[in-house]
């Protein structure tokens, strides 16, 4: 049984109390319904990675590391570099996480983070080609979940975005002999936009942002939207076996769009600070 589902069993009794608070516009930890916990972002923490970032949202803590390697393109996209986003929910991160291959929740998490980056075209994969159809740059973003207290979707997404945005790579060129030459000079990885994901939890009939583990344990549904610099939606994912009525779907987009604007400033600042 997955960590989240176990938590559901344990904490079901807590729901009434949380709902009562929410109905008064309050949360157990004193936040308003649409308030994030403090967000702390550090970049450049892993010298061996091309880019890295540690994101803490309240007690949730994740680290993302980017490795840029040289690989072969997929046969059906010879003109595209590779982007691989992988998330490991480490057994360090909570009493419910187990060692082993990722379960369906970890796979969904990784795929939703991946789609946010991919669909926003944050990185122009066509610019990562070295030799058409043969050699391309491959961007691996690995996210380690270190401490779980809710909102992994956003935390993993912010760490991924911050680590990509601050990545550098050796300048490389293709010699006349078809060999790839990597120079000592390091250049920043070009990015096109900063995608921001916002995840709402629906508990009873209320939406909240940035849910804690305790809130996630009693939430009915979860919905994530990712926005680009222009406020356009680039990815969406509803999760959990609860429902949203049709107006709630539209309301969710509105809330998420407004929050994304706010969070964008925090992420942008951390990237700017890193680039000096």
């Amino acid at each position: 049984m997955s960590a989240v589902k176990k938590a559901v069993v344990v904490e079901r009794l807590r729901k009434a109390q949380i709902v009562e608070f929410l109905s008064k516009g309050k949360r157990l930890d004193g936040r308003g319904l649409l308030d994030f916990r403090p967000i702390k972002i550090e970049t450049g923490i892993i010298e061996k990675a091309n880019g890295s970032a540690r994101v803490q949202i309240g007690n949730t803590q994740v680290i993302a590391g980017v490795k840029i390697e040289i690989g072969e393109p997929f046969p059906d996209t010879p003109e595209m570099g590779l982007l691989v986003v992988n998330v490991e929910v480490l057994p360090l991160s909570s009493a419910y996480a187990e060692p082993g291959p990722p379960d369906e929740e970890a796979i969904e998490l990784a795929r939703v983070v991946d789609r946010g980056i991919r669909e926003s075209k944050m990185v122009d994969l066509s610019k990562l080609v070295l030799i058409s159809g043969k050699k391309v740059h491959a961007l691996f973003v690995d996210v380690d979940i270190l401490d779980t207290d809710g909102n992994l979707f956003d935390a993993a997404s912010y760490a991924t975005v911050a680590s990509i945005a601050t990545s550098t790579m050796p300048k490389s060129s293709v010699g006349q002999d078809g060999q790839i030459k990597q120079e000592d000079e390091s250049i920043p990885l070009q990015i096109n936009c900063i995608p921001i994901s916002i995840t709402l939890a629906k508990i009873d009939s209320e939406f909240i942002v940035d849910p804690t583990s305790e809130e996630e344990a009693v939430m009915d549904a979860r919905i994530t939207f990712t926005f680009d610099d222009d406020g356009k939606i680039r990815a969406g994912q509803k999760g959990q076996p609860g429902t949203l009525d049709f107006n709630q779907v539209k309301l969710a987009v509105e809330i998420a769009k407004a929050k994304a604007k706010e969070i964008r400033e925090i992420i942008k600042k951390s990237i700017k600070d890193a680039k000096g």
Partner: protein, 241 residues
């Protein structure tokens, strides 16, 4: 970029922007399953079997107050343009999860404590929108299995191609288009049970697209109903071309 809508506003296969592909649903196509269905939705061909409610193994996984729903979306190796390895991919595992979460709200699982209900989807041929077709067929198979339901679940994707919001993308439109958004609803309770989105939509386009999907779902719901009625009460030819 391929031009996907012509000057008359028609798509490559002749459909209007708000038109679904042909749909055909059959009920009770497998003998061993407790419930089963078969759907053709465009070039999608999907067969669904429901087994359960039955005892959970190992027993400690059983829930004392309700049944567990497990879905498995699997693609036949010959269902895709290039042969797919039989082992489930990460994509299939994610889709299995969202299908399960799309169906669960409609099921009265509390009626079957300590049991499991398995829903197996086999995609015999894959086209754009296979998860939606799979959800639509699964709900029919669950009904065929006699599982107590609050409502049906019905799904349809909507998206954007050549800058226009359009209904029900096929494979080419999905690949060449700008956005794809699968939606599942409970048509009588007016609830959304699945929503995913890849691509680029303004909030205004999102709203328009979502409404288009909901309307299409209501239409597909009628096909579901007819298939079930034909099996249980009638002899008519099932389906709609």
């Amino acid at each position: 970029m391929v031009e996907l809508i012509d000057e008359k506003g028609l798509r490559m296969d002749g459909r209007r922007v708000d038109e679904t592909r042909p749909i055909k649903i059959e009920v009770g196509v497998l003998k061993n399953a407790d419930g089963s269905s078969y759907i053709e939705f465009g070039k999608n061909k999907i067969i669904v079997a429901v087994y359960g409610p039955k005892e959970v193994h190992p027993k400690h996984l059983a829930l004392p107050d309700r049944s567990i729903l497990r879905c498995r979306y699997h693609m036949a190796p010959f269902s895709t343009d290039t042969r797919k390895h039989p082992q489930p991919s990460r994509r299939e595992i994610e889709i299995s999860k969202v299908i399960s979460e799309a169906l669960e709200p409609a099921l009265i699982l509390e009626e079957y404590p300590r049991t499991v209900i398995n829903v197996y989807l086999e995609v015999l041929q894959a086209d754009g929108g296979s998860r939606c077709a799979g959800i639509t067929a699964s709900a029919v198979a669950l009904a065929d299995a006699g599982i107590s339901m609050r409502d049906m679940v019905v799904a349809c994707a909507v998206g954007k191609i050549s800058g226009k919001v359009v209904l029900d993308l096929d494979d080419t439109e999905d690949k060449e288009g700008e956005a794809d958004m699968p939606v599942a609803i409970m048509p009588n309770l007016n609830q959304t049970t699945l929503l995913q989105l890849d691509g680029i939509l303004t909030p205004e386009e999102f709203e328009k697209a979502f409404e288009m999907a909901v309307n299409a779902c209501r239409h597909i719901y009628e096909v579901q109903r007819k298939a079930l009625i034909d099996k249980y009460f009638g002899e008519d030819e099932v389906g709609e071309e």
